[in-house]
């Protein structure tokens, strides 16, 4: 594509501070024949906090995983701080991973380890930063996520879902990475704890210039924490030729958006989706959403 060549020229010409720290260049991702992401081009500047919103199953988790090389894009590329991450060898990639922190949707703690071993895992892989001790770092992070120190010798299976999530957060934060990816950090937490996590994300950002990408369904949290919001839409539901990114801008611009799909998502209104789902249900166990015949109007009042 012409655009990506232009991007490459400008990105090398720009002074270092202005160069996006992370960039996807018309990245696509497929599972077999199923297209999840198509031609996604996003630039993330250093220090930005981005919230990614979008309905369940639209590919947010896949997007995050592709950013740090957990999934390889079917086409296009991901560039982090000037490195095309697919072109790196194992060693270079391992070194780069020191600079990433990933908070998984369901924490993904290692069952075979205690909580303290879990939090210390990145330290064991990459070494303890100078002038600190592992023990100090662990208790510091644990306090940050609001957990008592008596959880340290426990196993992940002995904690509640919300507690596990916070341990996952502590683990991702321990090396103070340059890029933090949060996959639904507040889902499944009580409102108070959600706000603690929001505060934590903002405090981390104040402490050092971290770049964060937060996948969330929590619009309150997205508005509060993010400088920029990106809304993804399921590829299969797009009109022909549309971009999968329906919205990309500051939270304040959400109110003035013309796209009904965005405003409905933000306000949490099902709108015509409800009709579609009812219609597809009355047709029997319908395959997937989005394959609904628009002229199909019988059967709404069955049952």
């Amino acid at each position: 594509m012409q655009e990506s060549i232009l991007d490459q020229i400008t990105s090398t010409a720009l002074p270092h501070g202005k160069r996006p720290i992370l960039e996807t260049r018309s990245m696509s991702l497929q599972f077999g024949r199923q297209v999840i992401l198509k031609d996604i081009s996003v630039k993330v500047n250093k220090g930005e906090t981005i919230a990614i919103i979008g309905e369940s199953g639209c590919g947010k988790t896949m997007f995050l995983k592709a950013l740090v090389g957990l999934l390889s894009p079917t086409s296009g590329s991901v560039v982090f701080d000037g490195h095309d991450i697919q072109k790196l060898d194992d060693q270079e990639m391992t070194n780069l991973r020191k600079r990433f922190g990933f908070v998984f949707q369901n924490a993904a703690l290692f069952d075979s380890m205690t909580i303290s071993q879990n939090i210390a895992f990145p330290l064991r892989q990459h070494g303890v930063p100078k002038g600190k001790t592992a023990q100090n770092l662990i208790s510091e992070r644990l306090a940050e996520v609001g957990l008592p120190s008596n959880v340290l010798p426990k196993r992940p299976s002995q904690l509640s879902g919300g507690m596990r999530k916070r341990v996952g957060l502590a683990r991702a934060l321990i090396l103070e990475p340059d890029l933090l990816l949060y996959d639904e950090p507040t889902t499944g937490l009580d409102p108070i704890m959600s706000d603690v996590i929001n505060e934590l994300m903002m405090r981390t950002r104040k402490r050092y210039p971290v770049t964060s990408i937060i996948v969330t369904h929590d619009m309150h949290s997205a508005r509060k924490v993010a400088d920029r919001i990106i809304m993804l839409y399921p590829y299969t539901r797009l009109e022909h030729g549309e971009s999968q990114i329906l919205f990309d801008g500051p939270p304040s611009a959400l109110e003035s958006t013309k796209d009904r799909r965005v405003s409905q998502f933000v306000k949490g209104e099902a709108g015509e989706r409800l009709m579609e789902m009812l219609a597809s249900r009355s047709k029997g166990p319908a395959d997937t959403f989005g394959r609904v015949d628009p002229n199909h109007d019988d059967g709404m009042d069955e049952e």
Binding site: V68, L70, D90, R97, F100, A108, L109, D111, F121, Q125
Partner: protein, 289 residues
């Protein structure tokens, strides 16, 4: 849905053709899947070999696996070994007694145990006890994104998860095999000498004359290949687990079934090979009488 290439014709020929077509497409898929799985497993095994030499395995990953394979599997291997030894004695005693050669029972029992039953039994027990557990554990780690978490923190999952399991299986299955052999010999001796009353000096002498160290070596040598197969197949199944509890269950079952089939296949191949070696060294072979 399979598309029928001859939808509107129902002459016998076209029906035959269409059923041939279906036959070919079904079996074609099976063959392609099979070949690509074997290829995938080979690549997986090769990556594991590379990682075995690229970096030293971590002690904390080795110990739990060595414990699971070496210590926790020992009782069940010992128990089944004993039973198999006794069963062999019971099965063969009457035939041998009929031709008046019950003192040779030891030779036959111990030979079968050391060459064949000991290693295969130990491997089967390992595949059932450890192999399917490995597939379930790794499968759960895959499904709950723990493998992704490992990668994202700069650990290589093959190095961190597969190499220690492989080493545990390969290094400790000889010990399990010898345990199965030993307990089988004890069980066979117990039944033949204590229960059937065969003369114990003759029983032992015949065994000692007939079963040599090459036979013991054969069994142990084969077992190393069995251990390697179990580890690679089970870890592969775990890594390629489908989502959900059902996926994990299927991975565990597939790990056992596929390693068991592979063990038997390898057993044939290795026996042919070892026989050739044996006759190259001792052209006359061993004689029972």
């Amino acid at each position: 849905m399979a598309t029928d290439p001859f939808p509107n014709m129902d002459s016998p020929q076209s029906r035959l053709l269409s059923s041939l077509h279906r036959f070919a497409s079904v079996w074609g898929t099976v063959v392609i899947d099979g070949v690509s799985t074997v290829g995938d497993i080979s690549i997986f095994g090769w990556q594991m070999v590379l990682w075995m030499f690229r970096a030293k395995p971590k002690r904390e990953t080795l110990m739990p696996n060595f414990y699971a394979v070496g210590v926790l599997s020992l009782p069940v291997v010992a128990l089944t070994g004993t039973f198999i030894g006794m069963v062999l004695a019971i099965q063969s005693y009457h035939q041998f007694k009929n031709i008046g050669m019950e003192t040779f029972l030891g030779a036959v029992i111990n030979m079968s145990l050391v060459r064949e039953l000991g290693p295969v039994l130990a491997a089967t027990m390992l595949a059932g006890r450890v192999g399917s557990a490995m597939a379930a554990v790794l499968g759960t780690m895959r499904v709950t994104e723990q493998i992704d978490a490992l990668i994202s923190m700069g650990a290589n999952p093959i190095h961190y998860l597969v190499v220690p399991r492989f080493l545990a299986c390969v290094l400790l299955i000889p010990a399990l095999t010898i345990m199965a052999d030993f307990m089988g010999i004890v069980g066979g001796y117990f039944y033949s000498v204590i229960v059937f009353g065969i003369d114990h000096a003759q029983y032992l002498r015949n065994s000692r004359e007939f079963v040599g160290s090459f036979d013991l070596f054969t069994g142990v040598f084969k077992s190393i290949f069995f251990g390697a197969t179990i580890a690679v197949v089970s870890c592969y199944r775990g890594f390629h687990c489908q989502a959900g509890a059902e996926g994990v269950g299927r991975a565990a079952t597939a790990a056992f079934v596929q390693s068991f089939v592979m063990i038997l296949l390898l057993d044939i191949v290795l026996n042919i090979f070892l026989d050739a070696v044996y006759f190259a060294i001792w052209p006359t072979g061993a004689k029972l009488f």
